[in-house]
Symmetry: C2
Subunit: 412 residues, 2 copies
């Protein structure tokens, strides 16, 4: 029988009524003739509660115990979902990560899936079971301990199951009805996309769009798993939501398909760094070792052997970055006059696979911002993305202006 | 190193502060030189919440899914306890039932422990770990699914671990400071016992004293595990609480050591049953098949080939019992004029190993009740116990009068 993977996020299973509604959606697909693997998150709020307990006990917690505790929320939902399906006369049973088993690396709290043997679940499908409900977000380490895949990891679980079982599609049910050209809370001109390319989704996800976990999109791209994002709160047609798919499956596309933003970016500048070969490595190695996720990097033109080096990193890593750089200075590895952190910035990005073939996108973006009187502090580009760092107070304005300029309210 | 098992019930781990307090108690034993296996219940209220969700979804739930859901509470506490101990610099880690593994039968929701292999945990003790924190109440079926041992099953887990690992003692930390001669809420003359024999504890547990789960006492008796019941809310000395132990270890004992009561007993009478050989079997087989737990049984003197048959069962099984008996009547297996259920009764029992050697206990019990004007409806006796069914409204009075009559406020 053809197979679907359906994933329900925390808000879609937040209480018994919502679990019933989700189970009905599963029942519709079963009635169409699909065998279904359902991946569930913890009921909304549960994981946060567990995380708070752990952090209350121990700020520097043992990640193995953290994983054992926080993975319990998904286990509860999986059992409740299986019971709900059984009550609807749909043959179903639940699996915890270790029962499948979802084999992962030992990197607790950020484990990667190595392998998902399909024989246990397929044997049950062979015996007439129609739905396997699997607790998302979790797996089993080579040492036999429970691992988790990091926050939002249930998306990754879903895509990995779709790849392992050769599912026809992986439907991600969430509290939004698809992927939008930008956040509808910022402009009511935001338009739902029917299709988006993996590469675009990947950029949007890593740029702050919270619809899908970045890693799940990477995985879907690698194994060419058709991903559909749709709402569990609306009646669904067969073409509801947004399909995330390979570029070849998208016939028409705008040059720019999305405007993303992030408030959590800070700008840090090392003023008057003694410039010499290898200075970039001397600066960014200590940051990397301190676990600082550096995003954009700009080096100003060097004058008289000294230069300014600017980079961006998440706001909550500023302290860590400052400490790492001051320590590197104390060790004599780098030399700078001053270190300035600016946390009143935001990152705004334009994303689109059309940029590959069309020039002038960056110029139009800079002109649009300039027309609004918005100063650009840092620029970074990739093949299908242009990101700028601007004053945070202009963020909404910039998103609205760019959305208009690239006519994202109109379909291609 | 000598080994202790310490079990903490739901109220003793109800929140992070209480988990810290319990961990401190564990730390005291570790400082004395003990390796410790800690068995934890779910945080108070958690299991009830999970059970309610399951019952909301499906009144006739799949016990396998029920077990998967309700066992999650203990998993959370085990991880939190391990983290708390680590934070106190006590080397500790958590185990879920399936990780030990606690091997059980497949009787979901009422599984029995078959075996607890000790090698995994002992290997970690060998590597310097001082505390193994194990999620109580749960195990692994031969089919690889999670089982639970029934409500209160963490007591049984604790005793089974004490037996398997040859622990010096099994300390059960709870919200009362020991086993009392009767419920202190009924008479302030109730006295904490320093020691009580397994057999007495077993009778008291099955008669409604809620301190220990019956099965855990059976198991302790079979493997001669020294059980200590004590409070997690008081500073503890080495001889705190009540030691449940073999009869030989008790030097002095009163004839009667405890007065137990139960409000949850109903009296059922089959009026004018056609008496013939095998009639008792014909009545009680269908009840047994319907899962009715029959306790006391009395058959009146037969007149003209007919008799009255009276038995007691838990109040919430009355409907089931009536249905089973009416169906047996409809099938022609038994014949009776009427079936009368009386749910306004209570069971009061006197328990003591001294009864074995001393006669006249029953007579004194009946006289005491008679002096108070309390009518006895049904009597049942065992070697160390006398139980009577009386009107519920006299229950407190009966307990107080018997406690006085047998001088339970005075130590032997």
């Amino acid at each position: 029988m053809p197979l679907l993977v359906m994933k329900f996020g925390g808000t879609s299973v937040a209480n018994i009524d919502r679990i019933r509604r989700a189970a009905k959606r599963v029942g519709v697909e079963v009635a169409k003739g699909y065998d279904v693997i359902v991946i569930v998150s913890a009921m909304a709020g549960r994981t946060n509660e567990l995380v708070e307990w752990v952090e209350d006990i121990s700020p520097l917690y043992d990640a193995r115990e953290y994983d054992a505790v926080v993975s319990s929320g998904e286990v509860v939902t999986a059992g409740l979902m299986a019971l709900t399906l059984q009550e609807m006369d749909v043959p179903a049973r639940s699996w915890q990560g270790w029962q499948v088993p979802v084999l992962t690396t030992s990197a607790h709290s950020a484990a990667r899936i190595d392998e998902i043997p399909t024989d246990n679940i397929n044997a049950k499908f062979g015996e007439g079971m129609r739905v396997a409900v699997v607790a998302g977000f979790q797996g089993l380490s080579p040492e036999g301990r429970i691992t988790t895949l990091g926050r939002g990891g249930s998306d990754t679980t879903a895509v990995a199951f779709a790849a392992a079982f050769g599912a026809e599609r992986c439907d991600i049910y969430t509290d939004v009805d698809g992927v939008y050209t930008t956040d509808p809370r910022i402009t009511d001109k935001a338009r739902k996309l029917d299709r988006i390319a993996f590469e675009e989704m990947l950029e949007l996800a890593s740029l702050g769009a919270k619809v899908l976990q970045t890693r799940s999109v990477e995985l879907a791209m690698r194994y060419n798993v058709k991903l559909r994002v749709l709402s569990s709160f609306e009646e669904q047609s067969d073409d509801a939501g947004t399909l995330v798919c390979a570029e070849e499956e998208i016939v028409e596309s705008n040059v720019v398909n999305g405007i993303a933003y992030s408030r959590d970016e800070a700008k840090m500048t090392l003023i008057s760094v003694a410039d010499r070969p290898g200075i970039a490595a001397a600066i960014f190695m200590p940051l990397s070792e301190a676990g600082v996720n550096v995003d954009m990097i700009v080096q100003n033109i060097s004058e008289e052997g000294r230069t300014d080096m600017t980079f961006s990193c998440p706001t909550n890593q500023v302290k860590r970055a400052e400490q790492a750089l001051q320590e590197a200075k104390a060790r004599g590895e780098i030399n700078f006059h001053d270190l300035v952190a600016d946390t009143n910035v935001a990152k705004v990005s334009a994303v689109g696979i059309g940029m590959r073939s069309q020039s002038g996108v960056a110029a139009q973006m800079f002109k649009t911002l300039s027309d609004e009187g918005i100063n650009i502090k840092v620029i970074a580009t990739s093949e299908i993305k242009i990101s700028v760092l601007i004053d945070r107070k202009y963020m909404e304005l910039a998103v609205q202006a760019l959305h208009d300029a690239f006519e994202l309210d109109k379909a291609a």
